[in-house]
């Protein structure tokens, strides 16, 4: 089945710094979503981005479907950005729209 790899696995930032998280996938996909899992375990939708570029405040994301990767940019990071960031894809081949998750990037933002 499709492999979803996220990097880096762990990231420590000082408040105000910028960062880029990467998601590579091994096969073509129909859908791609980025989530933030906060320290209370809630999954928060960040982007629904099977292709192209989107921006929402300090966050933006780019998916290059033909090259099988997506990037999540966090600018001017805040302590509330801490948590785990997941990339999840729906593979083209079958799957009935089930999401396949990467292992996540664990982000800690220090004041």
């Amino acid at each position: 089945g499709i492999q979803v790899e996220q990097s880096p696995p762990d990231l420590i930032l000082q408040e105000g710094a910028n960062s880029t998280l990467r998601c590579n996938f091994s096969d073509s996909v129909n859908n791609l979503q980025w989530f933030h899992q906060n320290p209370w375990g809630q999954l928060i939708n960040l982007f629904y981005i099977p292709s192209g570029t989107k921006q929402n405040g300090r966050l933006s994301a780019t998916t290059v479907a033909t090259e099988r990767y997506s990037l999540l940019y966090i600018s001017s990071s805040q302590t509330t950005d801490s948590g785990v960031y997941f990339c999840a894809v729906v593979p083209n081949s079958g799957g009935y729209n089930k999401l396949i998750f990467g292992a996540g990037t664990r982000l800690a933002v220090h004041p």
């Binding site: 809630q42 939708n45 629904y48 729209n97 089930k98 292992a103």
Partner: protein, 115 residues
């Protein structure tokens, strides 16, 4: 509007007991999914319902796991004869379909602990 809701939020059970977990999807969402998240890991797909189509049960780890959905509303996930390895957070998601898009929205999860 209201998001996906799940109950109970926490469940502690003894090994060998049966448990039922409930999910209320976002109103109007025709697709409903169950996932499992073990401690420190990503989410694993369990089962998926879409309208009147046969559910995709390909992610259920054993025949002790089953799920039902009534129409396009509530779903229950049942785990029979629970084992310690069933301890995890069980998350439910729902999504619209077709021209309305396929973005999945998650509930807060049920944390299951099997002692």
């Amino acid at each position: 509007g209201a998001g996906v809701s799940q109950s109970p939020s926490n469940k502690v059970t003894e090994k060998g007991k049966d448990v039922e977990l409930r999910c209320d999807p976002i109103s109007g969402h025709t697709a409903l999914y169950w996932y499992r998240q073990r401690l420190g890991q990503g989410l694993e797909f369990l089962i998926y319902f879409q309208g009147n189509s046969a559910p995709d049960k390909s992610g259920l780890p054993s025949d002790r796991f089953s799920a039902e959905r009534t129409g396009e509303s509530v779903s229950t996930l049942t785990i029979q004869r629970t084992q310690q390895e069933d301890s995890a957070v069980y998350l439910c998601a729902s999504s619209p379909w077709g021209t309305l898009g396929y973005e999945q929205y998650f509930g807060p999860g049920t944390r299951l602990t099997v002692t």
